[in-house]
C-alpha cells in the first residue's frame, strides 16, 4: 500500500528519479575512498537528462546505484517513489557499452534475454522482441550473431534489449563511447527518435559535450572525485533536434558553459 501511495505521490510531483543527498565511500584500508559526496538530483518523468564529468568522478557509480547494481553509504535513491535495493528490470533498464551483448546468442535471442529470465514462452517473447527490432531499425537482422553486426548495430540491439521489458526509466552508461564520431552522431539522433516514440525517462552518461547538449533536456555537471553536482543546466533548444542546431550560437554557448564548469572544477 505504502508503495502505491508513494507511486502516486511521485507521479503527482512528476519525478521519475529522486536522488537525495547521496554519498558513497569505498571501503579501504585507511577509512576508505570517498567516491560521491552529497549528490542530489531530481529527474522528471519523460525527461532526457545527461550527466557529464571528468573520468573517475563517480558518474558510472551513481548510475549503477540508480540501477540497483551497487549500494550507497548515505542518502536516498527513489525510482518512481520507491527505493531500488536490487535490480528491477520492470522499473529500470540499463544500457551498457558495446561489450555486453552475449556473443553466443542471435540478435533476437539477445533482445529476448531479459524475457527468458522470467520464463516467458518463446512465442510471447518473439511477439514482443520483433517490434523492438523494427523500432531500432534492425528488421531482418534478427538471426545474425553480434560478431556479424557493426558497432552501431550492436548498440541498437542493446537499446532494443533495454526497451523490451518496457521499463519507464532507461539508464545509459556511455553507450556510444566505442563508436566512431560519425556513427555516434547518427546513433544519438536515432536515440532521440526512439525516445520520442516511447516517452521514457532517460539518464545518459557521456564524456562528449556536443553529445550532451544535442541530446539533453537538462545537463548535470559533476566534479572530480569525490563526485559532487556542480552545475545543472537547462538545454532549451527546441525539439526535434537537428544537426543544424550544432552550428548555432545557443548550442555553442551551452557547450562552452559545461566546458567552463568542468575546467574550473579541476
Amino acid at each position: 500500500m505504502q508503495y502505491v501511495a508513494d507511486m502516486r505521490a511521485a507521479q503527482a510531483s512528476g519525478a521519475a528519479i529522486e536522488i537525495d543527498r547521496v554519498s558513497h565511500v569505498y571501503a579501504g584500508p585507511d577509512g576508505g575512498v570517498p567516491a560521491l559526496s552529497n549528490v542530489s538530483m531530481k529527474v522528471g518523468a519523460g525527461r532526457f537528462v545527461v550527466i557529464v564529468g571528468p573520468s573517475g568522478c563517480g558518474k558510472t557509480s551513481l548510475l549503477m546505484m540508480m540501477a540497483g547494481l551497487r549500494d550507497h553509504t548515505e542518502g536516498r535513491i527513489d525510482i518512481h517513489g520507491a527505493p531500488i535495493p536490487k535490480p528491477d528490470p520492470e522499473r529500470v533498464g540499463v544500457i551498457f557499452q558495446e561489450a555486453s551483448l552475449f556473443p553466443w546468442l542471435t540478435t533476437l535471442d539477445n533482445i529476448e534475454f531479459p524475457l527468458s529470465l522470467r520464463g516467458m514462452s518463446r512465442d510471447e517473447r518473439r511477439r514482443r522482441s520483433e517490434p523492438m527490432l523494427s523500432l531500432v531499425g534492425l528488421a531482418g537482422f534478427g538471426e545474425r550473431y553480434p560478431h556479424e553486426l557493426s558497432g552501431g548495430m550492436k548498440q541498437r540491439v542493446s537499446i532494443a534489449r533495454g526497451l523490451v521489458q518496457d521499463p519507464p526509466v532507461l539508464l545509459m552508461d556511455e553507450p556510444f563511447a566505442a563508436l566512431d564520431e560519425q556513427t555516434r552522431m547518427t546513433m544519438g539522433h536515432e536515440l532521440l527518435r526512439i525516445w520520442s516514440t516511447t516517452n521514457k525517462t532517460v539518464v545518459f552518461i557521456t564524456h562528449s559535450l556536443t553529445e550532451a547538449v544535442y541530446l539533453a533536456d537538462e545537463v548535470y555537471v559533476m566534479s572530480p572525485r569525490p563526485g559532487r553536482m556542480i552545475d545543472h543546466i537547462a538545454i532549451d533548444l527546441p525539439r526535434p533536434r537537428t544537426y543544424e542546431m550544432m552550428a548555432t550560437d545557443t548550442f555553442g554557448r551551452l557547450r562552452d558553459r559545461i566546458w567552463q564548469q568542468i575546467r574550473k572544477s579541476h
Binding site: 547494481l69 535490480p87 540499463v94 553466443w104 546468442l105 534475454f113
Partner: protein, 272 residues
C-alpha cells in the same frame, strides 16, 4: 599460378609418406628390422586382425573411461576452483605446478594399488587428462567478461540463471579446447601405461612384439594408435565446432575478412 588448396596438399603429403614407407625399406635404404614395408605391416595386421581388434577394443574401453574421469572431474574441479576466489588463489598455483610433474613416475604406484588390469590404466590416464581439463575450465570461468554478468544482473538474473545462462555458455570455448587436449592426453596415458605393465591392449602388443624383434607387428600396433588418435581429433574438432558455433563463426569471419583483399588481388597479377 594459383596456390593449391591446403586440403589437397595435406592429402598429397600423406600419400607421399605412405609411398616412402613402402619404398625406403624396399630399396634397402633402411633395414626392414628398423622400418618394415607398409605392405608387410598391413599384411600382418590382416593376418592377426582378430588379435589386434580385441586389443584395440581393450585400449578403446580404457580410453573412454579415462576420458570420462578426466572430463567429469576436470570440469567439476575446474568450475569450483575457477569460480570461488579463495580456492582459486589457494589451489590454482598448486595444480599448475602438478601439471608440470611427469605423472608417469606415479604409474608403478597405480599398478600396486589397482593391479595390472584395465583399472590402473584408466585411473592413470584419467588423472593424466584431468589437468588440462581442470585448468582450462578454471581459466574459462575466470576470464568471463564481467560486463556480461553485470548486464545479466541488471536484467534481474538470479545466481542460478547467471550460471546457466551466462557463465556456462561464455566459458564453453575455453572448456572445449581443454576437453580436446585432455582427451588426447587420456589416449597417451592409456598407451604409455599399456606399454609399461599390462597384459592386454595395443600398447601391450607393441611392447611384446618389440622384445621379440617382430617389427611388422610393432608397426601394425603403431598404425592402430595413429588411426585412433587422428579419428579422435577429427571427431573432437567437429563436435567443438558444432557446440560453439558463435565462436568458430567469429574466427572464420576474421580469417575471411583478413583474406578478402588477398583474394581480390589474386586475379590481377594473373591477368598481367
Amino acid at each position: 599460378m594459383r596456390r593449391p588448396d591446403p586440403k589437397t596438399v595435406r592429402w598429397g603429403i600423406l600419400v607421399a609418406l605412405l609411398v616412402l614407407w613402402e619404398l625406403i625399406p624396399m630399396t634397402g635404404l633402411l633395414p626392414e628390422l628398423f622400418l618394415p614395408r607398409l605392405s608387410k605391416t598391413l599384411a600382418v595386421l590382416w593376418i592377426d586382425l582378430g588379435k589386434y581388434w580385441a586389443a584395440l577394443l581393450v585400449t578403446l574401453y580404457e580410453v573412454v573411461l579415462a576420458m570420462v574421469i578426466a572430463c567429469g572431474f576436470g570440469i567439476v574441479a575446474g568450475a569450483t576452483i575457477g569460480g570461488i576466489a579463495v580456492l582459486r588463489d589457494l589451489l590454482l598455483p598448486v595444480f599448475s605446478s602438478l601439471y608440470a610433474v611427469p605423472i608417469v613416475i606415479l604409474y608403478p604406484i597405480f599398478t600396486a594399488w589397482f593391479g595390472i588390469g584395465s583399472e590402473s590404466k584408466i585411473m592413470f590416464a584419467g588423472i593424466y587428462g584431468f589437468f588440462p581439463v581442470m585448468l582450462s575450465t578454471a581459466a574459462g570461468i575466470r576470464t568471463i567478461d564481467p560486463q556480461f554478468l553485470l548486464a545479466a544482473r541488471s536484467m534481474g538474473a538470479t545466481i542460478y540463471q547467471q550460471i546457466t545462462k551466462v557463465i556456462i555458455p561464455a566459458s564453453l570455448p575455453t572448456v572445449f579446447s581443454g576437453l580436446r587436449l585432455g582427451g588426447a592426453l587420456a589416449i597417451i596415458g592409456v598407451v604409455v601405461a599399456e606399454m609399461l605393465t599390462a597384459s592386454a591392449g595395443i600398447g601391450y602388443l607393441v611392447t611384446l612384439n618389440r622384445t621379440i624383434l617382430d617389427s611388422p607387428r610393432v608397426f601394425a600396433g603403431i598404425l592402430c594408435i595413429l588411426v585412433l588418435s587422428v579419428a579422435y581429433d577429427i571427431l573432437a574438432r567437429r563436435l567443438e565446432r558444432r557446440m560453439v558455433v558463435w565462436q568458430s563463426a567469429g574466427r572464420q569471419q576474421q580469417v575471411q575478412s583478413s583474406q578478402r583483399p588477398v583474394n581480390r588481388g589474386a586475379p590481377a597479377p594473373a591477368a598481367a
